[in-house]
C-alpha cells in the first residue's frame, strides 16, 4: 500500500517500471528496493526457510538480517531490501 497523503513529506518517485513476482506482473518505481515494491503491492511473504518452511518477510531493511533474501533473475540469496528494482526483473520466492 502506497502512502498517498503526508503532512510533511512529498514523495518524489523515480519512473514507474514493471517486474514479475512469481510470474505475475507488478509495478514499482525505479529508485526503490525490490522489497519496498513488493510490500507496496501487498506482498509480505518473501520466501520460506529451508528446513522448517517457515514464512519469511522483511525485517531490518539494511541488508544485515537475511530475512528478505529472494531469487532475482535466477540469482539466489539476493538481499531485496538493499537491491534496486529494475525494469523486467524476475523476482521469486526461494
Amino acid at each position: 500500500m502506497r502512502i498517498q497523503k503526508h503532512p510533511i513529506l512529498d514523495f518524489k518517485h523515480g519512473e514507474k517500471i514493471t517486474f514479475t513476482f512469481q510470474g505475475k506482473e507488478l509495478e514499482g518505481y525505479s529508485d526503490e528496493p525490490i522489497s519496498a515494491a513488493l510490500i507496496a503491492s501487498g506482498i509480505k511473504l518473501l520466501s520460506y526457510s529451508r528446513k522448517l518452511k517457515r514464512p519469511r518477510g522483511f525485517f531490518c531493511a539494511i541488508g544485515k538480517c537475511s530475512s528478505c533474501l529472494m531469487t532475482v533473475n535466477g540469482i539466489p540469496n539476493v538481499r531485496t531490501c538493499v537491491t534496486r528494482l529494475e525494469e523486467g526483473m524476475v523476482v521469486e520466492r526461494q
Binding site: 502512502i3 518477510g57 531490518c60 532475482v72
Partner: protein
Amino acid sequence: MKVYDIVIVGGGPAGLAAALTAASCTASVLLVDDGLQLGGQLIKQTHKFFGSSRQFAGIRGIEIARNFIHEIKKSSNIEVLTQATVTGYYEDGVLTILEGFNGNRLIKVKPKRMIVATGASENMLPFTNNDLPGVYGAGAVQTLMNVYGVAPGKEVLMVGAGNIGLIVAYQLMQANIQVKAIVEAMPSIGGYWVHASKIRRLGVPIYTSCTLKEVRGDEKVEGVTICNIDKDFNFIPQTEKELNVDTVCLAVGLSPLAELLWQADCQMAYISELCGYVPQRDENMKTSNDMIYIAGDVAGIEEASSAMVEGQVAALNAAASLNLYHKEYSQIKQKLKRQLAQLRNNSMCEAITRGVQKATIKKGGDYVYSR
C-alpha cells in the same frame, strides 16, 4: 590497487560529516555505503532536531542529509560508492569491497587511514512467531514509510517506548497508519516526554511493565497477545490482552555493527551504557589500530547529532596523522570537544557520558603541526 588517504565505511551522519571534514583537510576520500543512497538514519528522520543551531536544531534530518550530499557531490576529492559492502580489512592494509548486483564484483583498495562509521542494527526480541512476515524493526518501518512512501501495514503494535519507539509511532500516525498500542517492558517510558505526550494526545495507549508474548497469523501477522510482566520480567498470569494488528514494530534497542573492527583485531570492550561491544578509542576517535578511527553509533549508541560531531573529530585527526592539517586544527578540535560535551550535558545522557569515559583508553595526542 587504488590508494586513498582516508576510506570512510558508512555514509550515515557520521560518515557524511567525516567525508566533508577530510576533504577540507585536502585528503583524498572514498566514501562507501551499502545502501541504495547516502544518508543512513538521516534520510528517514522527519522530526526536527534538538540542540543549538550548530547542531542543526529545528532542521529535519532529511534536510541535513540533502545538504551534506550536495556538498559531497561538489567536492573534487570525495569519491562515493553506494550499494557497496566493505567485507574486510587485512594485515597487508587491503580493504575489500563487494559492489555491483548482489555484490558480484570485488574491489580492493589501500586506505592510508580508515574511519569506520557503520552505525548500528536493531535488536531482536524473543516471542512466539517472531519470524512471521509483518514483524519489522522500527528503523525498517521508518525507511519504508519516510523514504519510499510505502505503508508497512494498517494497524501496528509498537514494542518499546524509548525515543525510537515513540518517534516511529508518531510518524506512523502521520502516515495515517493506526498504532493500536505501545508496550514497554520497563515500568516507565524510556524516551523524551515531549515525544510521549504527542503520542498520548493522539489517543495511543502506552502500557508499561508490559511486553509482547505471542504473535498469531496464517503466514503473516494477524493478531498479538500482550501481557503484563513483574519486576523480574516474568509474565503475570491472567493479564494477557489480545489485539488485532497486521504489523509488529520492534524498537527494543540497537547494537553497534562492529564486525569490521573485530576482524581488524581492534581492542573491544563490552560497555552496557554504549549498548554492546564497542572499540576502545582515544579522544581523537582512534582505535587501538593506528590506521582505524571510528565515529557514530558504532562507537556507542547515541544520536545523529553526536555522530556528526564524532565524524568531524575522526576525520580531522585521521587527516592530521597523515600530516594533512586543517588550517585551524587546534581551534576546531577544541570546538568539537565542547560541542560533544554540550550535547551530552543533560540527565538523559549521563549513562552515555559514563560509557564514553569507560571506552576512552588514553588521552589522544595533539598531532604536532609541523611546517
